[in-house]
């Protein structure tokens, strides 16, 4: 079995990157056009069919992850479980934090129209959000923002990848 040099390099890049890599990112690094990169990726994906790992496509970028059927084994390593479902309250709160950060809890509650402490706490526990500092002014409320883990779990590299605001603020 021989593999093309490009295939090996791309495989190494996707493994080593902290973020999902888009074909553009890869094309830039290895100086090949995107179409070639796409076909190289296809070859890698085929080669991975039988092992423990897979290259998944999240929003057009590629990331190396374990196959879902191994989840129960990997949990035994004690890695935090990312499969516990998020409640609607949590995703709404997360959406607001992603868009409006840095944002206080009171501002989140104003947009959602309901109290959100438990949603904020559960997101802090999952390390999807963190405290960014405190807002000047009365009470010096805590400001929240999203974490690196947020970007990794959701396969998003920057806030620009979130759906665009369809209405004027």
């Amino acid at each position: 079995m021989t593999l093309s040099e490009a295939e090996v390099i791309v495989e190494g890049l996707i493994f080593a990157s902290e973020w999902p890599l888009s074909p553009q990112d890869i094309a830039e690094i290895i100086e090949l056009d995107e179409t070639t990169v796409e076909s190289v990726l296809e070859n890698i994906r085929k080669r991975y069919e039988f092992g423990a790992l897979t290259i998944r496509n999240v929003g057009g970028a590629y990331q190396m992850v374990t196959k879902p059927e191994l989840a129960s084994w990997i949990e035994k390593l004690g890695r935090p479980v990312i499969n516990a479902p998020l409640t609607v309250a949590s995703t709404e709160t997360l959406a607001i934090i992603a868009y409006e950060q840095p944002v206080t809890r009171a501002e989140i509650e104003q947009i959602r129209g309901v109290r959100s402490d438990s949603a904020v706490n559960s997101l802090l526990e999952r390390e999807l959000i963190c405290e960014l500092g405190r807002k000047a002014g009365p009470g010096r409320p805590i400001l929240y923002g999203v974490t690196d883990k947020f970007f990794q779990h959701f396969g998003i590299r920057s806030l620009e990848e979130l759906p665009l605001q369809g209405i004027t603020k």
Partner: protein, 246 residues
């Protein structure tokens, strides 16, 4: 009604309103406020019938809807300048809030989808290589100044000293006791500054005093006046009744 209806669960009043608007197939910019208000209240009544708790937010929204409804019935009052606008629509603020919330719900759905895609998938556990991938911080201290550091350090040190004092002088009073004390401080006065009530109090007492003042407002015994933002807060007692002990 003798049977149980399965009621839908809503995240909050905005969620319920959006659902009513979509069920009625009406234009969000032209909400038939009377009929939507009626349906909104019906939902609250049905919650009540099933002995389900109605949270404060739902009640506040009910009040808002009723206010908007009445303002739409009345001829526009010649009041504040910004409301002189001929296009002024009492529904506008609510609509803007609803649209904002609707957008957030869409993003939440997008995130939920992404999250489910990640279910059971694990990324690499260790650094991939010995290369220096430590982040470059373009903003290592932000707009923090020496003065900030001084104040933060100062307040951390003060907190330690304070904590020790709290341990040595345990004070345990209830809101009810605090309420009684605040009434005594207020009775017969034309007005009292909120700051004066707080003098020489520990943080725990400040919280109790604040709660007692809120309770007095609720009971209709006092009014609270603040002339400008961050200005002094004055308490005007008008119906204080001291419980006379036999």
């Amino acid at each position: 009604m003798g049977y149980l209806i399965q009621l839908e669960v809503y995240e909050g009043p905005f969620d319920l309103l959006l659902d009513l608007i979509s069920k009625n197939e009406v234009d969000i910019w032209d909400i038939p406020i009377a009929s939507i208000t009626e349906q909104y209240l019906e939902y609250l009544y049905s919650l009540q019938e099933q002995n389900l708790a109605i949270t404060g937010e739902f009640l506040v929204m009910a009040a808002t809807l009723i206010r908007i409804k009445s303002r739409m019935l009345l001829p526009p009052e010649p009041v504040e300048e910004d409301e002189l606008d001929e296009d002024f629509d009492p529904r506008r603020e609510l609509v803007e809030q609803l649209l904002r919330y609707k957008f957030i719900k869409e993003v939440a759905e997008f995130l939920q989808g992404r999250y489910e895609q990640s279910t059971g998938l694990y990324t690499r556990g260790q650094p991939a290589a010995k290369f220096d991938f430590t982040p470059i911080y373009t903003n290592p201290v932000g707009d923090l100044t020496l003065r900030d550091l001084n104040q933060i350090y100062g307040s951390l040190k003060v907190e330690i000293v304070k904590e020790e004092r709290v341990h040595s002088v345990p004070t345990r009073i209830s809101v009810q006791e605090k309420l009684a004390r605040v009434r005594i401080q207020l009775v017969g006065q034309p007005r009292v500054s909120f700051g004066d009530l707080l003098q020489d109090q520990t943080p725990a007492e400040v919280v109790l005093t604040f709660l007692a003042v809120l309770e007095l407002v609720r009971l209709g015994e006092i009014a609270v006046v603040q002339e400008k933002s961050f200005g002094n807060i004055n308490i005007v007692p008008y119906a204080i009744e001291l419980e006379v002990q036999a």
